[in-house]
């Protein structure tokens, strides 16, 4: 499998970006109404909030309070928008998953393929909340909170704020450190194939900066990956051992104590 081509396609260009949710060009216009639906529904709570704010404070003795609180009003609306966008898109995703349960495997990239169509639809629904959550000063909202909304398992004390993690088929254990600018992809696109495979990262793993982890990778407990390296499809990194290179190869056999 030519894994280098996948790397070219999906490495995001900026440290600020959210998790990558690509959508096929051919399906973009067809699924655009879903995108608008998520935006429209997530704006409703804000409109309600503003309505009550104005009707409550735009009275004779409260004018000063109205203007003093206007800066806080803006901050509250920003976070309310993010929260409602996350909530509504995760509800829509649950409905989509009830209609068609996502499977793991290798699929054809035809428009007739049901799996491929629903994968695009899920990405389209996730696009708006993941984008809006990435543009805020609280880094833990981007990955830890947003991805847990979509059902990704991320353990406690996990340090993964400055990386791009796919929003499906990823399991991350406790005390994991994932480096700055690393990409964890549970999907890959080869010429005419779509590959969806589960990534499992066990406890106490350290992944260096700017690593790329391809679909199907299993990282066992305490393994360490050097920065600037990538793993192949279905690669296994063994317990307490140090890997490096492109693709990752065993560099040193470590012990439990280290």
């Amino acid at each position: 499998m030519n894994s280098k081509e996948v790397l070219k396609m999906f490495q995001p260009a900026s440290l600020k970006g959210g998790s990558s949710t690509p959508v096929d060009e051919r399906l973009r216009y067809k699924y655009f109404p879903f995108y608008l639906l998520v935006i429209f529904l997530s704006v409703i709570p804000i409109v309600l909030f503003e309505y009550f704010y104005i009707t409550f404070f735009w009275k004779e003795p409260f004018y000063i309070i109205f203007f003093i609180l206007i800066a806080f009003n803006i901050v509250i609306t920003l976070y309310l928008l993010q929260f409602s966008a996350l909530l509504i898109s995760s509800l829509l995703i649950i409905i989509v998953k009830l209609i068609h349960n996502p499977n793991i495997g290798v699929f054809k990239r035809n428009l007739n393929n049901k799996e491929y169509k629903y994968w695009n639809l899920r990405n389209m629904i996730k696009k708006w909340p993941l984008f809006i959550v990435a543009t805020n000063p609280f880094p833990w909202l981007k990955n830890r909170v947003a991805l847990r909304f979509f059902g990704t398992k991320i353990g406690r004390n996990c340090l993964c704020d400055n990386s791009w993690i796919s929003s499906e088929f990823v399991e991350i254990g406790k005390n994991v450190i994932i480096g700055m600018g690393s990409t964890i992809l549970s999907f890959g696109i080869e010429q005419e194939k779509l590959i969806l495979k589960k990534i499992r990262i066990a406890d106490n793993v350290i992944i260096g900066a700017k690593c790329v982890i391809l679909p199907g990778t299993k990282i066992h407990e305490g393994a360490k990956l050097n920065s600037h390296s990538y793993t192949l499809y279905d690669q296994e990194l063994k317990k307490y051992q140090i890997y490096s290179g492109h693709p990752a190869e065993l560099k040193k056999i470590g012990n439990e104590g280290q």
Binding site: I177, G181, I207
Partner: protein
């Protein structure tokens, strides 16, 4: 070299920055709260005059000069408030940063995870993080450099810093240096169960290529170029006026002019 200090050869892997960002979230909330309170108080006179234009009454006992042209200033008011917000956040976080520095002064060395140095390193980085993040969201490309200088990083004149991660402590960047997109300059690094903190020195006229990683203790001499997609290992010294590439850096070649490289290509073609 001390006994407990790692050198270039003994390092097996370079990991990543280890700044936990949750425990000090309260700092950002306090900063946002204070800044927006001050902004709304400062803007009261302007809002008061707008309200007077609308209704003919004043909600605030102010004797202001009011004119219809005040409405033209409304977009400007909103825009200037954004910069005002950045300035306030910078001042508040600088004060918190100073207090943290007095409580536990930063030092270089190798520390255990969970020690006092490790905790205070997190807190200092976390306070510096928010103003830097905010400065990057503003259309002036040099605004983040101003913030770095405020926190005591030595950054020379006419430095170009594109979007990337640079630690706010123990980093020196000389004049006319360019750091490209998507770089990481770490002055601290996680190694097994320890964290290594060491000064990074980048001298004048250097270029740091895109997608690179500079580890603690790196020294890049004057005119050195770090090629794209490469990283330096701990305590590595890079010679000046050369291009350095490799993961970790192990190859270097001279900087050529365009004519020189053309001549070389012609030589190869003529053979």
């Amino acid at each position: 070299m001390n006994e407990n200090e790692y050198d270039n050869a003994s390092i097996e892997f370079i990991s990543t920055s280890g700044v936990y960002k949750t425990p000090f979230t309260i700092i950002i909330i306090i900063e946002i709260f204070l800044a927006s309170l001050i902004i709304s108080l400062v803007n009261l006179w302007f809002v008061n005059s707008l309200y007077y234009l609308l209704t003919g009454t004043q909600f605030y006992p102010f004797n202001t000069f009011v004119h219809w042209s005040y409405w033209l200033l409304l977009p400007l008011n909103i825009y200037v408030n954004i910069f005002f917000f950045l300035g306030l956040i910078m001042i508040i976080s600088w004060v918190i940063y100073k207090i943290l520095k007095i409580l536990h002064p930063p030092r270089e060395g190798i520390f255990d995870k969970g020690s006092k140095d490790w905790k205070y390193m997190h807190r200092r980085f976390w306070t510096a993080y928010f103003p830097i993040w905010l400065a990057r969201a503003i259309p002036f490309p040099w605004s983040d450099i101003i913030v770095y200088r405020l926190f005591g990083t030595n950054i020379g004149n006419s430095v170009v810093a594109y979007e990337g991660y640079i630690d706010p402590e123990f980093v020196e960047i000389g004049k006319n240096t360019m750091t490209s997109l998507h770089i990481c300059i770490f002055s601290h690094l996680i190694y097994h169960d320890k964290v290594i903190i060491k000064r990074v020195k980048i001298e004048r006229n250097c270029v740091i290529g895109p997608q690179t990683l500079t580890s603690p203790g790196t020294i890049i001499h004057e005119g050195g170029i770090l090629g794209a997609n490469s990283y330096t290992s701990i305590n590595q010294e890079l010679e000046g006026n050369l291009i350095h590439v490799g993961t970790p850096v192990n190859v270097n070649f001279p900087i050529q002019s365009l004519d020189e490289s053309r001549k070389k290509v012609e030589k190869i073609k003529s053979k």
